[in-house]
């Protein structure tokens, strides 16, 4: 089993603008074939961190690290052509909003097949079979009809499943999901997260799940890392979340409204107090 190999090993990761403003301020983390959640508010640097693992940061950003290994590759010095061999093959990503992430001018079948065209040589018949198999695996009915459809003909939940099919078609070792459910309806969110969970489990992959909703991701991950203003401020197993000691984690955990909290104000972040804890 490859369970013990490290997929990501990062020490002292700093991402900044070229004028010297630091957005991610030196974080350390590593993960193997496990499910990890990266949680924080918008602007905390979680998406930048995830994009740096895909080599997809804008050119204007400066990435530095003391140590940066992805599946054993020293990717910090990689050129685009070297990244292209890794991306979509060994590491892949699911983005937030299928409306924007899918190409509106290409049919679904062509978009799902693209990673196969780029990374594997197979006959077009085998490719077609694989595409239909994958669409079926992500829970979409009638793949033969679906692959001829265009993104605007799909609902948000279906679009997100298509994106998942694209990400998983080459059986990557690491899947990065950047807020995969925040553009979706409440009822569909749990379905998509459960699907990601079961597919990742089945294939024994690593999952880095990014979200701002701590309670929702807690059910689908083993470990949780909490980011605040570019720093990893807390790191704990998912079971320990209800008893978190850090005030930021506590608030993120308890700020979700529900029926038992009626009539009492919801806990909010005491940002001044957090400044003193940094």
């Amino acid at each position: 089993m490859t369970n013990n190999t490290s997929l990501v090993d990062v020490r002292g990761l700093r991402i900044g603008l070229d004028d010297g403003t630091e957005l991610v301020k030196g974080i350390d983390f590593s993960m193997g074939h496990e499910r990890v959640a990266l949680v924080g508010e918008s602007g905390s640097g979680k998406s930048l961190t995830a994009r740096s693992l895909m080599g997809l940061l804008a050119d204007s950003l400066v990435v530095e690290a003391d140590h940066f290994q992805l599946l054993g590759h020293p990717v910090l010095s990689y050129r685009q052509s070297q990244w292209n061999r890794l991306r979509g093959q060994q590491v892949s990503m699911v983005l937030q909003d299928p409306k924007y992430a899918l190409n509106p001018t290409q049919n679904i079948g062509r978009q799902v097949a693209e990673p196969l065209v780029l990374h594997q040589s197979m006959s077009s018949k085998a490719r077609l079979e694989k595409v239909e198999y994958m669409l079926d695996a992500v829970g979409l009915a009638n793949p033969a009809k679906l692959r001829k459809m265009y993104p605007h003909q799909l609902s948000g939940g279906m679009g997100q499943r298509v994106m998942l099919a694209i990400a998983l078609i080459n059986d990557p070792q690491l899947l990065i999901a950047d807020e995969p459910t925040s553009a979706l309806d409440h009822a569909v969110r749990d379905q998509v997260l459960a699907l990601i969970h079961s597919l990742v489990e089945e294939r024994n992959m690593g999952l880095l799940l990014i979200s701002h909703d701590l309670q929702q991701v807690a059910d689908y991950c083993e470990r949780v890392m909490v980011m605040y203003q570019g720093i990893l401020i807390d790191h704990l197993p998912a079971e320990a979340l209800p008893n978190a000691t850090h005030p930021y984690t506590q608030t993120l955990w308890s700020c979700r409204p529900n029926i038992t909290k009626r009539g009492q104000p919801l806990p909010t972040l005491d940002r001044q107090h957090l400044e003193t804890l940094k």
Binding site: H186, T251, L252
Partner: protein
């Protein structure tokens, strides 16, 4: 007194030369001072119904009475009614003019009404929602999503509405910012005697906020729930 009575109302959208009916024969009543919730999956017609109540969609049939006054289908809101119903939209990025400073956006309706002491009203509004007064001369892109949604709430409240319509006011926001906005809405409701109608796809938000709610499904009312 019932602020809003909706009887046997159907709502449609114009699609080319045809009409596509998305809400079918709905009955509702909302009392004064109540927070009323509309829940359901996307595409169930909850926002379409809200847009009719805001006077933004003239294609409806049935009987609606607002503050005891019957509405006429196909007619836009005029006069007092236009001011008494205000709406906060889902996406705070899209609901403020990107090229106007906040002061200009917020002062426009007040000037139109010929009100005095506009600046005092604006700074009072900023204080109420917990924003610093010096933000008033910024542009929308210089604010965070939560701050922008607060500004959208000020914009609605400056006109002193009796009925505040909220179309998914927190679904574009972070969980921690959502908590701040929901607390703010609860405080405003208590201090101003507002009637609110809130649309959301998150049943937890409705459970937390509302006194009375209906669940919609495929354009019809599925369940009705009272919390008091």
């Amino acid at each position: 007194m019932n602020q809003l009575e909706v009887n046997n109302v159907s709502v449609s959208h114009a699609q080319g030369l045809q009409r596509n009916t998305v809400v079918h024969n709905v009955d509702l009543s909302v009392q004064a001072g109540e927070c009323f919730g509309l829940v359901g999956p996307s595409g169930c017609g909850k926002s379409s119904l809200l847009w009719v109540l805001a006077g933004l969609n003239p294609y409806w049939e049935g009987d609606i009475s607002l503050f005891g006054q019957p509405l006429e289908s196909g007619k836009v809101f005029t006069g007092e009614l236009r001011r008494r119903v205000q709406m906060v939209f889902q996406d705070p990025y899209a609901s403020l003019h990107p090229k106007h400073r906040l002061r200009r956006t917020l002062a426009e309706p007040l000037k139109l009404l010929g009100l005095q002491d506009i600046d005092d009203r604006l700074s009072e509004g900023f204080k109420q929602v917990g924003l610093a007064e010096n933000m008033i001369d910024r542009y929308p892109h210089q604010l965070s999503g939560g701050q922008r949604q607060r500004v959208a709430i000020i914009r609605a409240l400056l006109l002193e509405p009796k009925l505040l319509l909220l179309d998914e006011p927190t679904s574009a926001l972070d969980m921690s910012v959502q908590a701040e906005i929901l607390n703010l809405l609860n405080d405003l409701k208590a201090s101003r005697d507002l009637t609110m109608i809130m649309v959301s796809h998150d049943p937890d938000v409705i459970d937390y906020m509302c006194d009375h709610a209906v669940t919609m499904k495929a354009g019809r009312i599925d369940q009705e729930k009272y919390y008091r």
